[in-house]
Symmetry: C2
Subunit: 660 residues, 2 copies
């Protein structure tokens, strides 16, 4: 069947019209302003004694000539500041803080001082290779860094109305457009994508379409030349990482023209930032060949290469996608940033197509892998999000060195913590789309939101009991009579959906996963009620790591076993799929409590004194207690596993062999 390639013209709602007030999410928005942003500010300024230093403010000050010293940290260290500023901007939309805004203004001034005359901005090259620019696109990360600064500048402008940062970044973008239209850069592309989606945002914010054209140019060039493979032979090349390996085109999605790509390849964050820009550009230019590629890539990811948690990137080596069904649980990367990028891509796909399934995936990624990335105290972070951990095996200098059994204070390469902060602070973006005569509800998050219906300002009040209960009330109030539509996402996990108005069931057509409710007059209230009991989920057995196992999922939340509840040796547990799962709220769980799920099964008892034996382990009945995956590792260090073996015998009842 040919997909419907009619593109919607849906818009995001501006953040300062969105006022989240939700029992589940308030702790995260408060965590951002109360803990993460102040904590990260101290980190950027190297004020945390027992965490890895960031050096990023130091680098800006050196580049600005305000401090002696040299560049320290990774080549992309500036982006820590950029993402922090972006998160600050979003946070000011829901919690104005003049002092924080002043701090941000000072940081922006510093960035301006660190910028070169021609608009170039990147402290690594300004300090270590003055006068050089864009001499190592493969790993130099200048365009990636510029992209993050642009995203921050656009956010700061949109929330505060201040233009200084935006001007700085327009000058930077203008320089990029100049350089990359020169003949010697005619087939040059960024090694780490990000600039493309940032230039789209900058075009939207400024109305200057040349930025979008540059983004389109980058997208069109990718995979059409061997620039990244031969860059090291150019005279202008500056070595950054001393990587003696030849460039792997798939690593940077440069193995084929983007419109011909059908499988998600290479570095997961790079890939998903690219796909996000492809979606932006498909919509902006009505480019259905780009849309088709985006659909194929989305399908490949979600049907062949994504963890049940919305994690992506199966290989720690090169932080990359590997191949179909290769989803190991204990050595995977599943970087927090990659799930953020997946949510970004899905949001754009939903916006362009009006298909709810993309929001199912965005929600999955956000509520499991992204939330898992930050500790409940807001001061520790996961970079890698495994689905199975035995702490003793996560040894340095082994194949599992990248897997950490506990969240870390900060990282030398700290892309994830500030990325999580900016994502949580801009959560509102995911909740709605604004159509011409319609408001689309993607996520059921309680709060008060200002939108428009057919040009008339409306207030949308949401009262949601997600993620633990399938109950949400949506009230639309208009200042004057309106005519329009409310589109309500029906989550893929919703069972027995009932929509009622004034207590009376109403039957609504469902279009591409959105229930469509006509709105007339000045007020409209609708209630959605659905079941979402904890369910056992199975994986396609071609996923070798999950065959013979199942996972527990309740609504959008994936669950896991932890040693704190189940003792050690989680691998020796079996769940009986015939026994019911029971749910019970537990106030004592981290993060203000959560719904725990209990199943029944067996634990293997080993009665031999050797490592291997002909004697089958004896199963002893036991209860298995599951907690939400996003909360794991918030108690004492211990084992964790999402997937658990299942068995009871009746699954084999159709034996097919004569009895012995």
């Amino acid at each position: 069947m040919k997909p419907d390639n009619t593109m919607k013209n849906l818009k995001y709602l501006p953040l300062n019209r969105l006022h989240i007030d939700d029992a589940f999410w308030n702790r995260y928005t408060a965590l951002v302003t109360g803990k993460i942003l102040p904590y990260q500010y101290r980190t950027l300024n190297d004020l945390l004694p027992d965490a890895e230093p960031s050096h990023s403010v130091h680098n800006l000050r050196v580049a600005a000539g305000l401090e002696e010293g040299t560049f320290q940290g990774y080549v992309f260290q500036d982006t820590d500041v950029a993402k922090w500023l972006e998160a600050v901007a979003y946070s000011l939309s829901y919690e104005p803080d003049p002092q924080l805004e002043q701090t941000a203004d000072e940081m922006i001034r510093l960035i301006g001082q660190a910028q070169e005359e021609n608009g170039y901005l990147d402290t690594y090259f300004s300090i270590l290779h003055p006068g050089k620019q864009f001499c190592n696109l493969k790993e130099g990360h200048e365009l990636y860094t510029a992209g993050h600064f642009i995203e921050a500048a656009v956010a700061y402008y949109q929330v505060t109305g201040k233009t200084e940062f935006l001007k700085i970044m327009c000058a930077c973008a203008d320089n990029i457009c100049r350089v990359f239209h020169q003949p010697e850069y005619q087939d040059a592309v960024p090694g780490h994508e990000e600039i493309e989606l940032a230039l789209c945002k900058l075009a939207d914010a400024t109305g200057n379409e040349s930025y979008r054209q540059m983004a389109l140019e980058f997208i069109n060039r990718r995979g059409c030349s061997d620039y990244l493979s031969r860059e090291h032979t150019l005279e202008r090349y500056v070595d950054v990482w001393h990587d003696r390996n030849p460039y792997l085109p798939e690593y940077g999605q440069a193995h084929a023209p983007v419109r011909e790509q059908s499988t998600a390849e290479g570095h997961a964050v790079r890939a998903l930032y690219l796909y996000s820009a492809m979606a932006d550009l498909a919509l902006a230019y009505g480019d259905t060949s780009l849309l088709d590629a985006c659909r194929r890539l989305y399908d490949n990811i979600t049907q062949k290469r994504m963890y049940i948690t919305g994690g992506v990137g199966s290989s720690g080596t090169l932080e990359r996608f590997t191949t179909n069904y290769d989803l190991p649980n204990d050595t995977n990367y599943s970087e927090s940033c990659a799930s953020i990028a997946l949510a970004m891509f899905c949001l754009r796909m939903a916006r362009m197509t009006g298909e709810a399934r993309y929001m199912d995936t965005a929600e999955l990624a956000l509520m499991n892998t992204v939330l898992s990335g930050v500790a409940q105290d807001g001061e520790r972070f996961f970079y890698v999000n495994p689905l199975e951990v035995i702490p003793s095996a996560c040894m340095p200098a082994t194949d599992k060195a990248h897997v950490k059994p506990v969240r870390q204070k900060w990282f030398g390469c700290a892309c994830c913590p500030p990325n999580i902060a900016r994502t949580l602070a801009s959560l509102g973006t995911y909740i709605f789309f604004q159509g011409e005569d319609s408001v689309w509800v993607n996520l059921y998050i309680s709060g008060r939101y200002e939108a428009e219906l057919s040009g008339v300002p409306v207030v949308v009040q949401m009262d949601s009991h997600l993620p633990y209960h399938g109950l949400a009330t949506v009230t639309v109030t208009a200042s004057r009579p309106v005519r329009g539509r409310l589109l309500l996402r029906v989550p893929d996990y919703a069972e027995h959906l009932q929509v009622t108005q004034g207590g009376q069931p109403v039957s609504l057509p469902v279009e591409k996963g959105y229930a469509v409710l006509p709105v007339e007059g000045t007020q409209c209230q609708v209630q959605l009620r659905f079941q979402m009991p904890a369910r056992l989920i199975y994986a396609d057995p071609r996923v070798a790591a999950d065959a013979g196992k199942c996972a527990v999922k309740k609504g959008p939340l994936v669950y896991c076993l932890e040693e704190a509840d189940n003792g050690a040796n989680l691998a020796g547990l079996w769940i009986d799929p015939e026994r019911p799962l029971t749910e019970r709220w537990d106030d004592s769980l981290p993060g203000g409590g959560a719904m725990a799920v209990t199943g029944e099964g067996w634990g293997l008892c080993w009665e031999s004194d050797t490592l291997y034996s002909t004697q089958m382990p004896r199963p002893a009945p036991c209860r298995l207690r599951f907690v939400p995956y996003f909360l794991w590792g918030n108690r004492e260090e211990g084992e964790m596993s999402v997937w658990v073996r299942y068995g009871s015998g009746t699954e084999f009842s159709a034996r097919g062999f004569p009895a012995p």
Copy 2:
């Protein structure tokens, strides 16, 4: 219980008194002489057009001044030649070949020409850093290389009686003894152990005990100083690998004095070459504290860190041991060389203690992981020996890049192929020990062997049906009446052992796993008959990768599933542990046929069109066909798995919960 630390004074039988003529092993001894040695000779001389070049003869010729050019290959490239010469020496003991011997003599002459005046021998340093020696013990591999040359020289002397090579290596060893007794080397130790066991062999061959003293000194120093950690700060240091990581003492077993070590740590080959030398020295000096350490290390390996195949080294990163019960099947290293080293260590332990369990492990390693290392055509090799392979997932530049689904022609770092050759060519060493009044039979391999009983020459004729049938006849014939004992290993897999003489059952005492048969007169014949049906083997469930799974083992042979017999998606198969396993000889299997084993179970059918689903996969009855692990990968490329899920329901019959 305190172990019996009385040391035996058992000896190896000289190879030229051992004449293997065995239905199973003949093809391997013939493979060595007919295929592997000629093939490897061509490789050493870079005569194979489509394999990675070895450069090792080229390097010797450059060092000898016979050829222009520079050093190429790895720093330890010389050892390819050393191990080839060692294998040649052994092969000449069972298949004299004047032309091959002449080629070897020429190679030895070349080695002599490449040797420096002071006895130093290492083409890497002689060519690239002339005048420098022992300036990078951490990774320079000079002592490792010298050790392999010494082993080859001793072998060549023992088999041919020629002394030229031995003299060359005595000069080399004398230089080592000189240097490493200088004050500035007083706490220096080899980075890669090997020289220690080689010096013990050289002492045995020459009667010069100073070599063994040097070996003891190296062992005693290890772990007592930080030489390897601080070596890079010494003025004489020469960088080899540009490794910017700080030295990890465990990597080279330098984290603690060897007598205090209780867990196998670091690089697996380094560790097991060290332990082998520790066993040699424990016996030579009657050092029970070394013996105790060896016992602890053996127990740790075999009870916590060894694969069912006798593979060791769980991490591809650093080719190393990791931690207890960390035995992943699809990312492990289990280097062929490490299992060779394990067999070497176990042989020494058995020789010292007279305990058969050590030979059980040696046999396991030899017959599974070591034999798996070489293709049935003798021209392709495994370096890494996984227990589970999905070819599509073994991608370059990912976490599984080191795992190859098919044997490779040659390797840039080619330690394994010649190591396998020398091991197969010296298989005879493993078959017997010679006691003062006793002959010990370790392995039941058909052939005609010359030994002594109480000083009287005897011929031991063996007629064995292993490894597929538990039946062996041993006949001892003496030239004049003797009184002595024949000790017959009772393998750990032997069930219902029956020993008969002249058709009459005899009851023999079993001491430490050896059945003790008194021998009197000029002839004695005994027959051993035991059952060794294919059995399901389970692992301690603390091995997360194997929990809920079982493996098939028949006698010494571990079995596996291959795609060629079972189709793809082996992970989706379950075996029913209640159904009998059947065995059938299959002539069509590689290597002249083998016993195949068939079980019954189920294959999971996925009836959803999504990656994850609430719908449990439907099990469809099927037969599972297992073939010996050592034969895997000799048919078309495909999946392989040693461990298979089990389930039928009756294992959960003691449910412990009331019915729903």
